[in-house]
Subunit: 175 residues, 2 copies
């Protein structure tokens, strides 16, 4: 549904050998494929194939969520960021993140994921820098997230602080 039509208006193409702008060791999968024509592309396009997104989330072991709800969440997120490997006219979803926001003061980042094939190469950092750049361009000054314990240091490398001035992240679940 118009994905490619709106693609170039909302995406930013980055040649893998140029992604140093996004992260120190962003090398894409050039090492694996040897194809220097590979592009890593970032997009804020919302028209993402939900099955492709589910596949990505499956790959990191996240539990399945009803696609109906995923669709609604994407529609009502303030920012939806995706990262793609583009080869010729083929594209593969390799990263995703989204943020809720009041469009004025705060944004909260959810569902940050990089496909295991592409982890540990600076891709997560590049995706997060893209997200932060987009949020800053909207004048959002307070960016927050809830980090699983094993990724606190990942976010720390990007300047996120846990519990600043003693502020505590708190959760409530229906009984």
């Amino acid at each position: 549904m118009g994905f490619w039509k709106t693609w170039f208006s909302s995406s930013e193409s980055v040649a893998t050998n140029k992604t140093t702008a996004f992260g120190e060791h962003t090398a894409g999968d050039r090492g694996k494929s040897g194809a220097s024509s590979d592009n890593i592309v970032f997009s804020t396009e919302r028209d993402i194939d939900l099955y492709e997104l589910e596949e990505l989330c499956d790959a990191v072991g996240w539990s399945r969520r009803p696609l109906r709800k995923v669709k609604k969440a994407i529609e009502h997120s303030f920012l939806v960021a995706s990262m793609w490997q583009v080869r010729g006219n083929k594209r593969r979803l390799i990263g995703f993140a989204r943020a809720t926001s009041d469009h004025a003061f705060n944004a909260t980042i959810w569902d940050v994921v990089v496909h295991p094939d592409f982890q540990g190469q600076g891709m997560g950092k590049a995706l997060m820098k893209y997200v932060l750049k987009k949020l800053r361009s909207e004048e959002i000054s307070n960016v927050t997230l809830f980090a699983d314990p094993q990724v606190v240091d990942f976010y720390r490398t990007m300047g996120f602080m846990p519990d600043p001035e003693g502020i505590k992240g708190m959760f409530w679940y229906p009984q």
Copy 2:
């Protein structure tokens, strides 16, 4: 602008001597005024006088924010909850809270405030119960917030857990 018109469709009136439904010791300011005709009313109406809201936030010492941005934030919040003291045809804003959300999985509560004249009487708890009831009715299962250190215990009494399973609240501010 249509406040009173939409008032009764979106508000829930609670006589002060009946507010125990919302919190153990919600007594309103009946003790002070002696007027048993006082009502405490909750509403999700967004058409709040921004100057009245500013006054409420001033009263708890929050720093001023541009009204233009406050207006935008209210427009783009998923839920806006206000608490009013109603006497005859007069109403006074005595509490406020709002939440951002993806309308599907999560909601994050911001700007919870009760006027100092009404604090310590179960009003904050009643307001939070109202917010949680509204979020539950929208099938939001993951309710989060960021609590200043001095109010962590306030939220704990309502069932909010700090850092469940080691999940850390993290903040990023533009440099």
